[in-house]
Amino acid sequence: MLEAVHLTKRYASLAAVQDLSFSLRAGMVLGCLGPNGSGKSTTVKMLTGLLEPTRGVVQFDGHNIQDNLQAYRKRLGYVPEEAHLYPYLTGWEYLEMVGTLRSMASRTLETKLDSLLELFSLHPHRHASIGTYSKGMRQRILLIAAIMDNPDIFIFDEPLSGLDVASALIFKNLVQALGQQGKLVFYCSHVLEVVEKVCSDVLILRKGVVIAQDSVANIGQILGQSLENTFLHLVDDVDTMSVARDIVAVMKAA
């Protein structure tokens, strides 16, 4: 089980995340929603161990992840928000490097890479440099890098960004399958429909604080609305319709 216990992260005097607590059990797909600046990325960075919390701990199976970060990361698959990759490496070389750093046996690594690249339709481009890849192709490289070592925990930060329809559908089914396999999945996204479809539970953040946390079905039931309306109800201070009308008015102004 992955637990965030009273996580707080401060940048100087600004609190990006305050007293955040939740738990992620095996088989659970927890969606994380929140507007820009709500603390999603900071939370993800603390969960991956890239950022140390100012207060609180992240625990995996009852142990603080900071005590043995390497062992924890060996069991972690992470897809960051932006596909920053080394453009002069080929897709194959990049994945081979990640696999080697994960201490995967070279034969297993090669076999898995071949199959995964084939399944993600990247096999014909595996020896082209990443610099020539489209955004979707880079995203698929990140996905392969995250799943190839069969980790127990998955942290996906906007994983569908740039993916074509077919790849996005495959990925959504993959996330559900991972949950059924008993993996722990933490899924950050802006796309409410996807979160509604693939996640079993949802966590809604606003200004660094959890404002709602329950199963997707329960959250909808409580307010009697879709997840999108629930999200807008809980998070947004603005009347989106009136903002849209104002934008059109400014656009038309001479």
Binding site: T48, H84, Y86, P87, V98, S103, H127, A128, S129
Partner: protein, 584 residues
């Protein structure tokens, strides 16, 4: 008074930069300075102000260093009176011409990818209501503006300081003014020539090559230009003297070095040129005119072939065959996942990252020039091949090359590449495992030692027999390992993944140490070796030196506290005053 002059220009510029064309020129000027290309390279993108300051520095420094040569008091103390300042200044003027060409050429090569608009510009500008012709003209104006700016900036300090230094020998302002004017004409034209030469070369490649071939071949061409510029810089020690002494017909080699043309132009403007120099002095202006025509023509064709057709050029290149020839060999050397994962990364960055490859090519070029000079010196004083091979100069060649490779690689390791992509290392690597030194050592020695084993060893086996070859290779090998250990003291980063180090207070000391190290490593050791090879027992004299060179880094590493051994991804500046933050 000054504001009366500057205000109209400022108002004109403010008005003009609000227009689409002015805005685009401004955009292109900024992108040429701050980087271009499709990659998101960070770290070495300097601001315009800093870049211009750095470009101006060499000329200023060299001028100040020449005070020692031209100071009348010092000359009087040396007993040298009634010297001809114009004759005295010829080698220095040549050096300034060469320096101006090298710095401008290097700046143009450095920004090679940013000179032409690329895919990113296409995606941002073409959807706007601007014609591609306007984009072409705006970029051209930006390039020409920068050519002028760089030419003035690179030479500004030397145009003022050098004539002042030389003029200090005379009491006449007219002498200073005339000297300064001629010097300025020479160096600024040389700068423009160098920029246009690089620009035409790039334009020519774009005009004749298809995009994929251009990417591959331009890397080699840039490398060759860098080697040529280094060679040009190294000619400053010998060429002026030879040129002045030329009495007969024009030596053909002078045509290969445009720096000679510009020196001759300066000499002819001062009325000091001989017949051969007069002939050379006729070349610079037509040369610049031809280059301008070629550059503009090729740029127009290249623009049409590459920029206008960007959407037709497939973004994804065809698959390339996989190569893994080194795999089996590396498996023996690399033991841990850290080394197995990071070694290929470091190696591929060195080979494929243009910035790193350029810096390494420059260092390689310097190495080749120094090594060829050493070889020429070895043969100059020798009566036989055998004697030449055992001379300190010949023996110094592998020392020179390994020294430059080791120091060069250490320097290149500091240049970051795609910093935003280093998250994968931050995520995967154990910050407490101290393997960076070992990784860096393996990379350095993999590049440096084969040189000794594949060139120096067989050459000496053939020339001097097994015993000398073995001793020479052993000494170079041991010295390389010891130097590598010294330069990697407290190295705790994966090469290229850390921010660029800030200028430290001890950088000057570091620079002096490198110069001193070069003297010890590449000059003194071969001299000792040359004497010791006759009686190999003398080699024992080097054992204490080696022991100290091994012990000091070893001891320093052992005394490093745990926190300072941790892997880092960010270089922090050393603060003079540190806040304790007790309230946090």
């Amino acid at each position: 008074m000054i504001s009366l002059l500057t205000d109209p220009i400022r108002h004109w510029w403010e008005y003009y930069r609000q227009r689409p064309f002015g805005r685009m020129v401004e955009l292109f000027v900024a992108r040429i300075f701050r980087g271009g290309g499709d990659s998101d390279t960070e770290g070495l993108d300097l601001g315009i102000g800093l870049a211009l300051t750095l470009l101006a520095l060499p000329g200023g420094f060299v001028s100040i260093l020449l005070l020692d040569k031209y100071g009348t008091l010092l000359q009087w103390m040396r007993g040298t009176l009634n010297l001809d300042p114009l004759l005295m200044s010829v080698p220095d003027e040549y050096f300034f011409i060469v320096l101006s060409m090298a710095v401008t050429g290097a700046a143009a090569v450095w920004r090679w990818d940013a000179i032409f608009p690329d895919r990113r510009d296409y995606m941002n500008l073409v959807p706007l209501p601007i014609s591609t012709r306007t984009i072409f003209l705006a970029n051209l104006v930006a390039v020409l503006f920068l050519a002028g700016l760089i030419a003035l900036d690179v030479n500004a300090a030397s145009c003022l300081l050098f004539p002042m230094v030389v003029g200090a020998t005379q009491n006449k302002f007219v002498f200073f003014a005339k000297f300064a004017a001629v010097h300025a004409v020479g160096v600024v034209l040389a700068s423009i020539f160098a920029f246009l030469a690089v620009f035409s070369m790039l334009g020519l490649l774009m005009a004749i090559l298809p995009p994929r071939a251009l990417r591959r071949i331009s890397a080699y061409v840039r490398g060759m230009v860098v080697v040529y510029l280094v060679t040009l810089l190294c000619t400053s020690f010998a060429v002026p003297d030879k040129l002045i002494r030329t009495r007969g017909p024009l030596p053909p080699w002078t045509l290969l070095f445009p720096s000679c043309w510009f020196l001759s132009l300066c000499q002819s403007l001062r009325g000091r040129a001989g017949p051969a120099q007069m002939e050379l002095a006729r070349l610079p202006l037509p040369g610049i005119a031809v280059l301008t025509v070629v550059a503009l023509g090729c740029y127009a064709i290249g623009y049409h072939r590459h920029f206008v057709r960007i959407p037709e050029i497939a973004a994804v290149t065809a698959p390339m065959p996989r190569r893994s020839r080194m795999g089996a060999l590396l498996a023996l050397v690399l033991q841990t996942p850290f080394q197995k994962g990071c070694f290929p990364f470091v190696w591929k960055t060195l080979v494929r990252s243009e910035t790193h490859r350029l810096v390494l090519t420059g260092i390689g070029g310097l190495g080749l020039v120094l090594a060829s000079q050493a070889l020429m010196n070895a043969f100059a004083g020798a009566k036989s091949l055998h004697q030449a091979a055992l001379s300190p100069e010949a023996l110094s060649i592998p020392f020179i090359l390994t020294f430059l490779i080791i120091i060069g690689l250490r320097m290149v390791f500091e240049i970051p590449v795609e910093l935003r992509s280093n998250w994968i290392f931050q995520l995967m690597l154990d910050a407490d495992r101290q393997e960076c030194q070992s990784l860096a050592r393996k990379v350095v020695l993999t590049l440096a030692l084969p040189l000794v084993l594949t060139i120096a060893f067989p050459a000496y086996v053939y020339l001097e027999g097994w015993r000398v070859a073995f001793l020479h290779a052993l000494l170079v090998g041991i010295w390389s390992v010891l130097l590598t250990n010294i330069v990697l003291i407290r190295f705790r980063k994966v090469p290229f993944t850390c921010t660029l180090p800030v200028f430290k207070q001890h950088s000057i000391v570091l620079l002096l140490s490198v110069c001193f190290g070069y003297l010890l490593y590449a000059i003194s050791t071969p001299e000792f070796e040359s004497a010791a090879l006759a009686e190999p027992l003398r080699m024992i004299g080097l054992v204490p030196v080696a022991a100290v060179a091994w012990f000091v880094p070893h001891r320093l590493d052992q005394s490093t506290i745990e926190i300072e051994r941790k892997l880092i991804f960010e270089e922090s500046a050393t603060r003079t005053v540190e806040a304790l933050r007790l309230s946090d």
